[in-house]
Symmetry: C2
Subunit: 357 residues, 2 copies
């Protein structure tokens, strides 16, 4: 790939004339322009978007922090985002969220220094520091938060799932099968975990079914063996549950493992419901009943929302500083979207022993 | 975040003086410099890396095409890359590989126009077009290919796994348990699939064990139900295998499902070995025996290799065009690294019925 300087040297014309010819501006003769364009094509010249970014005041890049590269859930969110951003001619600069927690302000400064036009944040359970939140405000660029919310980001647009509604549907499914001893393994550190716990409590209250304290199992550390251990304890207790509603499919996998290792059969002895519908969930045996989320659609909508905020900003009347106009535009009406979920009834749930057929 | 122009306006000094003060260059009085720096701090001014990139001729960005956001394998490769790139002060611009196949040249032009310093390519099975390969050569920037190789990229550095050695170890494990009717479900469209098939054939030949034609099952389409269907056929045939070596853990999951649905028990009636060691593999029942890859290390080494090529380029004597020097440096000795794998023996393999205890 040749540079502007090389083409200028090959053609024996000034840098200014070369630049004019390549960007279609007047000021060079047709013959010279043709010669320059021909050399540019032969030497695979590519226009410099860094220069365009400075000239236009828009880098056409978006910062993306992602917390979850561990499963197809996070991956599909990213896929959905990449597609929409690409179609809108934005490129994402991606940084792992872990860095945002440990070196948060530094990471956000990187984004600021790269002059990203906006930010897509896909955070995990960790609550960012006050410094991080302050740096986020300093950015003064459109921001869309994805999947999880945290304290201090209520002023930004949000796209996630119907976590509450999904947990209600899953609980009602188990109640309809005849389950009354219905445990819940939940993860209160995330906003999704809290909403799912509330959905379970709501559906149980609506049905007038009491929740025994021991059937409320909180796991404190994600990706630990807590779900497995707590399930073994639950199943060995005097009044074991006949069904367990799980924070997500990973927890459900460990619950099924614990039941299997305890010599029980799912769903004959225990019904299990997950949340997410990860790729594995229809392939394991028993196939998992779960609340299916739509991560690609979450990613698509989040990116589309950000692109729309960026276009609004571009079309807004120039009221001084661009950053301020955007900040005002967004603060006016933070939008919260929740992509529908769908209960996928498969083979890990059935009527409890002694009920039904 | 204030711009250079705003700070200049607030301080009542020229743009040039503001720029000098902020970049630590001489030509402004100490008093003016202090005033400018103070306003910059108050207004959260951030230096513009786009300007630095143009001035230095290095954007400090890396293009990253990724094919696999569907599992923790691809995700962990990306995680490993992000960590090393961040530490070396490079930021990745990420694009989904699917786009590279369907709009390949256009995507590579995007990278060229963004002036990425180098490229990390994590390709899937699809063979890129001649146009794509040509555009790749036109880039004249260091490139590292990850996990999969394809025809036309032999001139680039590569970091992947010991696919051949892993398949040999898995086959020898099954042979040592006493298996002789040893099938292989393979995926020939990828370089990893071909290497794993060769490892199996090599180990079988070394042991003097014949491979029946019907025990060689090729799957043509990834993420289809072929592995499940072919396993059901194999298990229903007159001389079913006592063990199946699988292309990867996803295939192994479907093989276990097929055996379970056929009323067989793993490993009592059928031993199954996967490849990858995905997160789910130690959590399912039976826990999967598999060849564990180290995707984070693959990502780390690939990014480290690219960073080292970029540093070499920076330190190389200026022999005219930077692009050419880099192209020469890399073409001289394409390096191929294969990160070690390790057989994880868990519960999905055992001696065949009638052998051993």
């Amino acid at each position: 790939m040749a540079s502007l300087a090389e083409i200028s040297r090959i053609c024996g014309v000034s840098l200014g004339a070369t630049s004019k010819a390549l960007s279609g501006k007047p000021g060079v003769s047709d013959a010279t322009r043709q010669r320059i364009l021909s050399v540019a094509a032969q030497t695979n010249y590519r226009p410099n978007r860094l220069v365009h970014a400075i000239q236009r005041g828009r880098s056409m890049t978006v910062g993306l922090t992602c917390s979850d590269f561990h499963s197809d859930f996070g991956g599909r969110i990213v896929e959905g985002m990449l597609k929409v951003l690409y179609e809108a001619s934005y490129d994402p600069i991606v940084i792992n969220w872990d860095l945002c927690v440990h070196e948060g302000e530094k990471v956000l400064r990187t984004f600021a220094e790269r002059r990203v036009d906006g930010l897509l944040m896909f955070p995990p359970a960790d609550q960012p520091s006050q410094d991080y939140l302050q740096e986020l405000r300093n950015l003064r660029r459109p921001i869309v938060v994805v999947d999880q919310v945290f304290a201090g980001c209520e002023c930004y647009d949000f796209v996630g799932s119907q976590d509450f509604e999904g947990a209600v549907a899953a609980t009602e499914h188990l109640l309809a099968l005849g389950h009354r001893r219905l445990a819940n393994i939940f993860f209160r550190q995330t906003s999704t975990g809290r909403a799912r716990l509330e959905g379970y409590q709501h559906a149980m209250a609506q049905a007038g079914v009491a929740i025994h304290g021991k059937w409320l199992c909180e796991i404190g550390q994600y990706e630990s063996n807590e779900a497995y251990v707590r399930t073994r304890e639950l199943l060995a207790s005097p009044e074991p549950p006949s069904a367990i509603l799980c924070f997500n499919d990973w927890v459900a996998l460990d619950v099924i493992a614990a039941a299997t290792d305890a010599g029980l059969s799912v769903p004959r002895d225990l019904s299990v419901v997950g949340f997410a519908d990860l790729q594995m969930s229809a392939h394991i045996r028993p196939r998992l009943t779960t609340v299916a989320q739509d991560p690609r659609e979450i990613g698509r909508r989040a990116a589309a929302r950000l692109v729309s905020l960026l276009e609004d900003r571009e079309q807004a009347p120039a009221v001084g500083k661009i950053g301020e106009a955007a900040a005002v535009a967004q603060a006016a009406a933070p939008v919260s979207e929740r992509v529908p979920v769908k209960l996928e009834v498969r083979d890990s749930t059935a009527a409890p022993r002694g009920v039904g057929k």
